[in-house]
């Protein structure tokens, strides 16, 4: 509360306003006085001069008019015209009398003598005109003329002279009076202007002084506030005066003191939190490191186990041994899946999921996923269907690996929890009003279903709908958690709709990031190919046609042999390839094959058989079939088959994957003896000459002493590790010499490991445990003449 009587800005402004009002009032009074004086002066001029002047001029005019009527009257010869003239003359006489009566007092004041003379002559003239009127009424126009000449003329002339002189005199006097009034008004105007200027100057100075004071203090506050805002040390502002701004300044100082205290407290708290966060981060890093180490430590023996099992599978065994081996291999793979899941979850929790954004074939990813589970589903008698929205683009941008991982998880669960019935995978485009379209994937099954109260929990780690599930169906319970996190990381949502005994429908959405098909994705040799499609199922036929047309094939599609006959129109079809759907031993299929050959002599025939009814090699020649594929069709299988049949026959597969069948010389830097043994066994089996280096030094020595086509480098070795060895090799390599490809072969599975391999100069990456197929792939990729310089594209070898 402000105490009464204290100076305040409001009061100061109020006082200034009062002062200004007083000034304005004074000015108004002065102006009013000046206007009154000027008005009075002008009124005097008007009353004393202008009005008499106008009256005198009016009088002169009327007397002249009267004289004119008088003279005109003498010319009249028709008595009927006379009365009107006389009426006008009498009216004028009355008007002049009235004019003179009203003018006389004012005129007597300024020109008494002339006024008296004027009145005397007017009376003479008036009587004369009256006499003329009287005579005119008797039509004595001669008498009228006589009076006009003898009496009226002289009187009129005298009046004119007097009025003329009076007018001149009044004009002079009025001019002088006007000049006097004007000078007086100008003097008043000057006084008023001076007073106004002084008053305005005083008002301006007062307001300027006040404004400057207020501005200075506000500026000080502003500067202090900005300093504080920019983190400068607070210096209390100097407070002057005792008004609201002074209060504000003091309050500001107090507030800043409090703020400084709070800042000190916050800073201390922040430092404590930072210390804790650092501790937590260190713990997380330690955990990640532990996981990496564990992964490495587990993967290393796993590498040995799986490698040895792979090698052992190539040896001759009796059926019982083969069964044992299969069980061991299955168990090892399950252990590897568990390991991979734990590692994925670890990555997700550490926020280290790294998503790719590359162009990929959506249909290929779906085909791959379906194919992966098709056998298991078929084995359980489950029908596995797919439906792809035709409006979806063929190619998308995104992370196909992660998409595939989510699809596999969901399909794996569907197959796992479905005893009979079917599993359907549906992919469609979803339009949105408030954003770009989405891709929605739905995987529905006819399985056990999930209670409503469990549907949220199943996406949590280590949780399955029923505690007995793990025991009954196996699995880590991490699949849905990982899928959920991956979908969210990719910008989508995931959910489930299910009821016990009614199956489940898992769904997820992802942003539809459309990509155009680049040339590298266009299958060579298929563009322009003429293909006949004979598929009875309309949906399957349409899907197949769309796929073929996306490869720029010319497609003719029919449902059956009858339509085929119509399409052929009695002649030969010009297609080079026919895709026929039907069971191999179905007579209708056999007949259709025959009709195709008849219609298209020399054409290649691919039979598309129902799921679980593959062709045998000997069936091909028997039924006149060139290739056989089973529904559901995988895009890559179809593409390869068509290329094989339409482009050129592929050379027979070689056991040696290297270019030209050349024996490759490979160095394996690996400290673990088991892993050494696995690598040697697999690489030799793949036709390579293998040298082993047990540590980094040995690896460098061997590199310096030999020329290798490829080096597989373990990252963690005693002494010099794989990274340092690689860096040294790259340093040793001279420009112009062949750059030896180095493929990391490590149990480290964290993304940071891959980055580190790249930074060290390695070209590719294999994660342990390795398989024969992985090695074959690497040899195929890097076993040829390497690039002279530069770093080749690095791909994670997870085939």
């Amino acid at each position: 509360m402000r105490s009464r009587g204290r100076p305040s800005i409001f009061r100061y402004l109020l006082l200034t306003l009062v002062g200004a009002s007083v000034l304005v009032t004074l000015l108004l009074l002065l102006a009013t006085q000046a206007v009154r004086q000027a008005t009075q002066s002008l009124e005097d001029v008007v009353v004393l001069h202008v009005r008499p002047l106008a009256s005198a001029q009016r009088l002169q005019s009327k007397i002249d008019t009267l004289r004119g009527l008088e003279l005109e009257l003498q010319q009249f010869d028709d008595f009927f015209a006379v009365p009107y003239q006389l009426d006008n003359m009498e009216r004028l006489l009355d008007e002049i009398d009235g004019e003179l009566a009203s003018l006389r007092p004012a005129m007597e004041q300024i020109q008494p003598l002339e006024t008296r003379r004027l009145v005397e002559h007017w009376q003479i003239y008036h009587h004369a005109v009256r006499d003329e009127i009287r005579l005119a009424r008797e039509m004595d126009l001669a008498g009228v003329a006589r009076i006009s000449t003898t009496r009226s003329r002289g009187a009129h002339n005298a009046i004119s002279d007097i009025l003329g002189e009076m007018i001149v005199q009044i004009e002079r006097a009025s001019t002088a009076a006007y000049h006097e009034a004007r000078d007086e008004a100008r003097a008043q105007e000057t006084l008023l202007a001076t007073t106004l200027a002084v008053g305005l100057l005083l008002l301006f100075l007062t307001l300027w002084q006040f404004g400057r004071s207020v501005s200075r203090r506000i500026r000080a506050l502003d500067v202090a506030a900005h300093a504080v805002a920019h983190g400068e040390q607070f210096t209390p502002i100097q407070v002057t005066g005792n008004d609201e701004l002074a209060d504000l300044g003091r309050a500001f100082n107090t507030m800043q003191s409090k703020v400084a205290e709070r800042e000190d407290e916050l800073r201390a708290a922040y430092e404590r939190l930072e210390q804790r966060a650092q501790t937590a981060e260190e713990a997380t890093l330690a955990k990640s490191q532990f996981l990496a180490n564990m992964s490495h430590e587990i993967r290393t023996p796993m590498n040995g186990v799986l490698g040895m099992l792979d090698i052992l599978r190539e040896t001759r065994m009796n059926p019982e041994q083969q069964d044992y081996l299969a069980t061991a291999h299955h168990s090892a793979n399950a252990l590897l899946d568990l390991l991979n899941d734990i590692l994925d979850l670890s990555k997700i929790e550490a926020g280290k999921v790294r998503l790719e954004r590359i162009q990929f074939d959506l249909e290929q990813v779906i085909d791959d996923s379906i194919a992966l589970h098709a056998d298991r589903a078929h084995a359980k008698g489950i029908d596995l269907k797919t439906a792809l929205d035709p409006t979806l683009p063929s190619y998308l941008y995104g992370d196909p690996g992660r998409l595939r991982q989510v699809l596999n998880n969901l399909l794996s669960n569907a197959v796992k929890f479905t005893r009979s019935g079917e599993i359907a995978l549906e992919v469609k485009r979803v339009k949105r009003h408030d954003g770009p379209p989405l891709m929605r994937v739905e995987i529905s099954d006819t399985g056990t279903g999930i209670p409503r109260d469990k549907q949220e929990e199943i996406f949590e780690a280590f949780t399955q709908a029923d505690g007995s599930t793990t025991r009954r169906f196996g699995g880590t319970g991490l699949g849905l958690t990982i899928s959920s996190e991956l979908v969210r990381a990719m910008g989508g949502e995931i959910g489930v709709k299910s009821a016990p005994g009614q199956g489940s429908r898992f769904w997820f959405t992802l942003p539809l990031d459309e990509a155009t098909m680049s040339d590298e994705h266009k299958p060579p040799g298929l563009a322009g190919a003429r293909v006949l499609v004979v598929v009875g199922d309309g949906a399957q036929r349409d899907q197949l046609v769309r796929r073929l047309e996306s490869w720029h094939c010319h497609v003719r599609a029919v449902a059956n042999a009858d339509e085929l006959a119509e399409a052929g129109n009695g002649g030969h079809l010009s297609c080079k390839l026919a895709l026929l759907s039907g069971a191999l031993r179905d007579p209708r299929t056999v007949a259709t094959i025959g009709e195709v050959h008849a219609a298209m002599p020399g054409a290649k025939v691919v039979l598309l058989t129902p799921p679980g009814q593959p062709c045998r090699e000997e069936d091909l020649d028997t039924y006149g079939i060139d290739h056989c594929l089973s529904w559901p069709l995988r895009k890559s299988q179809l593409r390869n088959a068509m290329q094989q049949l339409l482009v050129a026959p592929r050379p027979p597969a070689s056991e040696h994957p290297t270019p030209g069948g050349r024996e490759l010389k490979v160095l394996v830097a690996e400290d673990n003896l088991i892993n050494q043994k696995v690598a040697i066994s697999m690489l030799r089996k793949l036709g390579c000459t293998v040298d082993i280096a047990g540590n980094g030094h040995e690896a460098l020595e061997r590199y310096r002493g030999h020329r290798y086509d490829l080096i597989f480098m373990d990252c963690q070795m005693p002494g010099i590790d794989g990274f340092e060895v690689t860096e040294e090799i790259r340093r040793i390599e001279t420009p112009g010499t062949t750059r030896v490809p180095i493929v990391a072969m490590t149990a480290h599975a964290m993304p940071s490991d891959r980055d580190r391999c790249l930074e060290a100069g390695m070209d590719d990456y294999l994660s342990k445990p390795i398989s024969v197929e992985q090695l074959r792939s690497m040899l195929a990729r890097w076993g040829g003449p390497g690039p002279e310089s530069g770093v080749p594209e690095f791909r994670e070898g997870t085939a």
Binding site: D77, D78, F79, F80, A81, P83, D87, R137, E138, D140
Partner: protein, 471 residues
């Protein structure tokens, strides 16, 4: 363009004035009349106010409505033949009724018949709204020579105050053995003015114009009433009937006033501008004049305001029947000179100014001698106020007895000039009435011969066919 295709007269339902204005606008729009055309009017001093209005109000109204500017010329009280023949550029002027028989055949004025038809101007009509006696005022035979604009029969003015004065009545009874009353015959009229002729008291018995210019005007009503149904000027062979007993009696009645009137009454130029002031000053008992004098008598300057009685002119008792005959003496009606630059415009101005809508403002001015010429004028309050109801009654009562003025045949001005000259000479005492008539008759015969008797006989016969006693 639409305007050009429209009829000339806007709508039959529109008033005469509006139709005249519409026709003017149409003429301007069609290019027949240039917008800057000046309409030139020639009027006598005494009827300027009537045709232009007090303070030129009617002129301003016309100019505002049509955009056609009016220019007015004052012409002297001369025969129209002289004025029209000697003045160029006049679109519209006035002519007296008796002048039509000379002006039209000589081609000095337009035959207005086609214009009446073109502009659907309803000239014919009777009481209560039409023009008064267009047969007398406008027609010459079957042609229309003028637009009626001044109804000028003669009426009698008597001093009511003297007639009603008991002493005068007693004195008259003692002197004549009869009651003092409004005279019905010319003889009774003479008895009255003789009775009141007291020059020594400043009262004259009678004042009628006796100047040479208008002698025939005050003689003819007397002459026409000397026979039943009327006394003709010629017989069927154009032999003048002036020197008959009827002609001589009429002349004697005419001459009798001179001795009972003011001195100088026979002087040249002493027309109504000499007689009217005397009557207004209360110096005369009886007067014959057109109705216009009543306007002056009622003015504030008149000394006999409210003291005058108005009556139709006296007649002659023949076989016990009073034969009262009148004629149009001045009658300044509107004619379009044959040389008029804008005859249609002039005609439409006349149509407008004489319309029921505008003409009351024309006739209803005090300063002018234009008299009522439409029946509806007699009901107009303004006109009634200026003339007085009794004067208008006398005016209305005069029309049934009114016959065409003048001789009505070619050479009218010559015939009348001779008559005027001899009547004036007789009035001045140069010879008696019989001699005046003999001289006149002789000269008229000569005039007839000069014009061709046979032709004059035909004209006379035609003219006489217009003589319709009883209106």
């Amino acid at each position: 363009m639409l305007l050009l295709l429209c009829p000339v007269v806007a709508t039959p339902a529109a008033g005469q004035a509006e139709r005249a204005l519409d026709a003017v606008r149409h003429l301007i729009a069609s290019g027949d009349v240039a917008p800057d055309t000046v309409l030139r009017l020639a009027f006598k001093q005494g009827n300027v106010n009537a045709y232009l209005g007090n303070d030129l109000a009617l002129q301003r109204l016309w100019e505002r409505e049509t955009g056609i500017v009016i220019e007015t010329r004052i012409i002297p009280q001369l025969p129209a033949q002289q004025v029209i023949a000697s003045t160029d550029g006049i679109d519209l002027t006035v002519a007296r009724n008796h002048e039509f028989p000379e002006l039209l055949p000589l081609g000095l004025i337009e035959d207005l018949t086609p214009l009446f038809e073109e502009f659907a101007f309803p000239l014919d009509g009777g009481p209560p709204d039409g023009y008064i006696r267009p047969d007398l005022q406008a027609y010459l035979g079957d042609r229309i020579a003028a637009i009626p604009a001044d109804g000028d029969p003669v009426i009698m003015y008597l001093r009511r105050d003297l007639l009603d004065d008991p002493e005068e009545r007693a004195a008259f009874r003692a002197a004549t053995g009869r009651e003092l009353d409004v005279p019905q015959t010319w003889a009774e009229y003479e008895t009255l003015y003789r009775f009141f002729h007291r020059p020594e008291q400043g009262l004259f018995g009678v004042v009628e114009e006796r100047d040479p210019e208008g002698a025939w005007m005050y003689w003819l009503p007397r002459y026409l009433s000397m026979a039943k149904p009327y006394q003709p000027l010629f017989d069927a062979q154009m032999r003048p009937l002036l020197d008959t007993p009827q002609g001589i009696a009429a002349t004697e009645s005419y001459l009798a006033t001179v001795a009972h009137g003011p001195p100088g009454i026979t002087d040249d130029g002493n027309n109504y501008s000499f007689t009217l002031p005397l009557y207004l000053q209360g110096k005369v008992f009886a007067m014959l004049h057109t109705p216009s004098a009543s306007k002056l008598l009622g003015s504030p300057a008149s000394r006999v305001q409210g003291r005058v009685l108005f009556a139709p002119v006296p007649g002659t008792r023949i076989d016990g029947e009073l034969v009262r005959r009148n004629t149009i003496i001045y009658g300044n009606n509107l004619v379009v000179p044959a040389k008029a630059p804008n005859p249609k415009l002039a005609f439409l101005y006349a149509m407008w100014i004489t319309s029921p809508e505008v003409s009351p403002r024309s006739v209803g001015v005090r300063g002018g001698f234009t008299d009522p010429y439409r029946w509806d004028h007699l009901r107009d309050p303004r006109i009634t106020e200026i003339y007085g109801a009794q004067a208008l009654e006398a005016f209305a009562a005069s029309w049934p007895d009114t016959l065409p003025p003048g001789t009505g045949i070619p050479g009218d001005s010559e015939y009348l000039e001779v008559l005027n000259r001899n009547l004036t000479a007789a009035a001045r005492g140069e010879f008696d009435a019989a001699e005046a008539m003999r001289r006149t008759a002789r000269t008229w015969d000569a005039i007839t011969e000069r014009h061709g008797r046979a032709a004059q006989v035909r004209h006379w016969k035609t003219f006489q066919s217009n003589f319709r006693v009883g209106g």
